[in-house]
């Protein structure tokens, strides 16, 4: 088997350069952390869908009841519930993002729309 000696000269780092590279690598490592914003959004959508499913199943669209259920899932957030065009605003903390879920149900021979909006972030 043929062997080759390394003839080319290498290069060496100064102490300062090595330290700088290490610090740079550490900073890059920190910056690469995954964001949890996606999970927060999924969790909010799950809760909104729970409410829509429960309301459609119980067919109880009493405004106070809707607000009470909304508060159970979102104790401090601002939101809006729309059932067949009738809007119910729920006051609370206003966030940067708005997350909306929609559902449909069949009543009196018509398809009706229900939506829940939550202000979050």
């Amino acid at each position: 088997m043929q062997q080759h000696a390394i003839k080319e000269k290498g290069f060496s780092f100064t102490l300062e350069a090595l330290i700088s590279l290490m610090v740079l690598a550490a900073f890059l490592g920190i910056l690469q952390e995954k964001s949890t914003a996606g999970l927060e959004k999924i969790y909010c959508l799950q809760k909104e869908n729970d409410l829509i499913k429960a309301w459609i199943k119980t067919k109880n669209f009493n405004e106070k009841e809707l607000e009470k259920d909304f508060r159970e899932m979102f104790p401090a957030e601002e939101g809006k519930i729309t059932v067949d065009g009738k809007k119910t605003n729920v006051s609370g903390r206003k966030g940067k993002n708005t997350i909306i879920s929609e559902g449909f149900y069949f009543e009196g021979g018509k398809i009706k729309k229900i939506s829940v909006m939550v202000s979050q972030g």
Binding site: E16, I19, V23, A26, K47, D50, A54
Partner: protein, 134 residues
């Protein structure tokens, strides 16, 4: 000599700042991990039905329609929940209706609690809490 001291001092300051930042980030990351565990366990519980292992799902199975009723809890299954069979990090499952409460397991330490809106077979409204802890 002076430049060496200055370099060492700079390195010390940078390393301690980095250490603080990394500690903060790891705490946030740990909470995010717990949160993901709790959120997905809770989702599994309300969407699946498993008679043999209720820890994987306690939704009501409609035998006539041959399908699982999402978000409708089978209270008989919920009563069978065994904390010894809980998946990793999941420490407590609590189901609350106005007239009854079922708790399996016990939470302790740093935890995150995920909640889901549920119904029982009589269409009464309630809340399911799944808690993941360290």
């Amino acid at each position: 000599m002076v430049s060496a001291i200055v370099i060492l001092l700079m390195v010390f300051i940078m390393v301690s700042a980095l250490n603080q930042k990394i500690t903060e980030k790891s705490e946030t990351k740990n909470l995010a991990y717990l949160k993901s565990k709790a959120v997905f366990f809770a989702d599994s519980l309300v969407k699946n039905s498993n008679e043999k292992e209720p820890e994987k799902g306690i939704a009501l199975y409609d035998k006539e329609k041959k399908r699982v009723q999402e978000n409708v809890i089978d209270l008989k299954l919920a009563e069978k929940l065994d904390e010894k069979k809980f998946p990793e990090k999941l420490k407590e499952i609590r189901i609350e209706f106005s007239n009854m409460k079922i708790t399996a397991g016990r939470k302790e330490g740093a935890c995150f609690e995920a909640k889901r809106f549920i119904l029982n077979e009589s269409n009464e409204k309630g809340v399911l809490y799944a808690t993941a802890c360290n």
